[in-house]
């Protein structure tokens, strides 16, 4: 019986251990954020990588999501003459859920995998040892700027995603499906509150934190050469994605 429990519990212990290590890396990055030297150039570079360079994929994803949402909800609402609610539905879904979640997923795929691969390569090619040898703390130099960029840039990207998503919904609803433009907008003003938008942005900051810490963690503890780097990048994406979905449920339960 004890043996069985040991066997069955091993994966959970493993997960808990890994979670603990991720948290320790996050704590270490937080502590190092307040210590000199402050490398603003490195931080701006990461903000560019995480934010600016992800903009195109986020725009495409958001605009198509808004358009699809408008199409789908139009067919539902038309059955009982509620076409005017399409705008509000699109806006609420985007600000509360689709904006933050889809943005986080796209950034995970683009920037998260790159973080794990880049830091992982630095680990296997002894560049992290070289940082230590040159008296530069690699958590401060590599992890902290990426986590900071993740937390800051995700909400900014989400604002853009919300906006273009609603614009996409407007285009489909008003231009293609002939919903009255005034009603479309009025319902949005009526039903979407600032809380919806802010809570969505808080969510996206949490997602930014999760994806950057997980990806940096996976890269930082890479072992096993080129194969290990590939594995780290894959795991970074898988674990970040799953963590984003799980945390989304809890954040939604708390917020709304």
């Amino acid at each position: 019986m004890v043996k069985f429990l040991e066997y069955a519990g091993r994966p959970f212990v493993g997960i808990l251990e890994e979670f603990g290590r991720v948290m320790l890396l996050f704590l270490s990055a937080t502590v190092w954020a307040f210590r000199r030297p402050f490398r603003f150039r490195v931080v701006f570079k990461q903000m560019e990588t995480v934010g600016v360079n992800s903009l195109t994929v986020v725009l495409i994803t958001a605009v198509s999501s808004g358009m699809v949402l408008a199409l789908q909800s139009y067919y539902g609402f038309r059955m009982f003459g509620g076409e005017g609610l399409v705008g509000a539905t699109v806006a609420l879904s985007l600000t509360r859920e689709i904006g933050p979640v889809f943005t986080a997923l796209m950034v995970t795929g683009r920037a998260g995998s790159a973080m794990a691969a880049e830091i992982g390569t630095m680990r296997v090619k002894e560049q992290i040892d070289a940082l230590y040898a040159m008296s530069v703390n690699p958590v401060q130099f590599l992890v902290m700027p990426r986590v900071f960029a993740g937390i800051l840039m995700l909400p900014l990207l989400t604002i853009v995603a919300d906006f273009v998503g609603i614009a996409g919904g407007y285009f489909v609803g008003v231009q293609l499906l002939d919903i009255n433009s005034g009603i479309f907008m009025a319902r949005i003003y009526e039903m979407v509150t600032m809380d919806d938008i802010f809570n969505g942005l808080i969510k996206s900051a949490c997602f930014g934190l999760i994806l950057s810490v997980v990806s940096c963690y996976k890269g930082f503890y890479t072992t096993g050469g080129a194969e290990g780097v590939g594995r780290a990048a894959t795991q970074a994406v898988v674990i970040s994605t799953v963590s984003i979905f799980i945390s989304d449920f809890f954040l939604t339960a708390v917020m709304f």
Binding site: E126, Q127, A130, Y132, A133, M134, S135
Partner: protein, 231 residues
């Protein structure tokens, strides 16, 4: 490592010689504090670095320069930025002065004009040179070389050996080189430490090693097939 005892003389080149997988790199990583020993002490001058916290260790590390096996240049930076890295991090020198030092160090290793190149554009030998330029950027008192000629052709190996000797002559730094290459060792070493099964089994100048009576040392120098040492 098992009861390893080694004193490295100042301002000379000491080569730690041993088989692949004998723990040579581990010694080097202990010297610069990248690894901590399970037991024992490591003194840099008069400071036992095993008892230091990270901040104190970082101060000690500023006396070091290290050339890693594959040079460990940062891929995302140019050669010039790589060499400038320790200067930017640890000095308040103006940009112009940093540029001057970078060019001087690159010239010293025979890489003038490579400032704007990316590490991926360099050959193995050039990467090592750039790595050495970065290692000596802060004029360190101690320079560590992790297998400096492994993976290089004989001509380039010879050039790197010459570079190590030149660098030591010019800087008067304490150099620790780990290698398994006999020819290179006898060419550059003032002292040789022979590592076998986690212990230093012989230490001294090249002549002493050449005339050593230890069976493993004899076998290693004659480059006979590896095998368990008789005693």
């Amino acid at each position: 490592m098992d009861g390893l005892d080694l004193e490295i003389p100042e301002a000379q080149i000491t080569v730690i010689l041993g088989q692949s997988g004998s723990g040579k790199s581990v010694i080097l990583k202990h010297i610069i504090g990248l690894m901590t020993p399970d037991g024992g002490e490591i003194f840099i001058n008069d400071t036992d670095i095993t008892k230091l916290n990270e901040r104190e260790l970082n101060e000690i590390r500023k006396q070091f320069g290290m050339l890693f096996q594959d040079a460990a240049l940062f891929d995302s930076m140019t050669v010039g930025e790589n060499v400038a890295f320790p200067l930017v991090e640890h000095t308040r020198l103006p940009k112009k002065e940093i540029r001057r030092i970078v060019e001087e160090k690159l010239k010293q290793v025979g890489l003038e004009g490579a400032t704007q190149k990316m590490p991926s554009e360099l050959s193995g030998g050039m990467r090592k040179r750039a790595g050495l330029a970065r290692a000596i950027a802060l004029d360190p008192k101690i320079i560590l070389f992790d297998e400096p000629i492994t993976g290089l052709d004989p001509i380039m190996s010879d050039a790197i050996d010459a570079l190590i000797m030149d660098t030591q002559r010019q800087t008067r730094a304490t150099c620790v080189v780990i290698t398994h290459n006999i020819a290179s060792t006898f060419k550059i070493a003032h002292n040789i430490a022979m590592l076998y099964e986690g212990k230093i089994i012989e230490f001294g100048n090249p002549d002493r090693i050449r005339n050593s009576g230890h069976p493993f040392v004899k076998r290693f120098i004659r480059q006979e097939a590896p095998g368990k040492c008789p005693n």
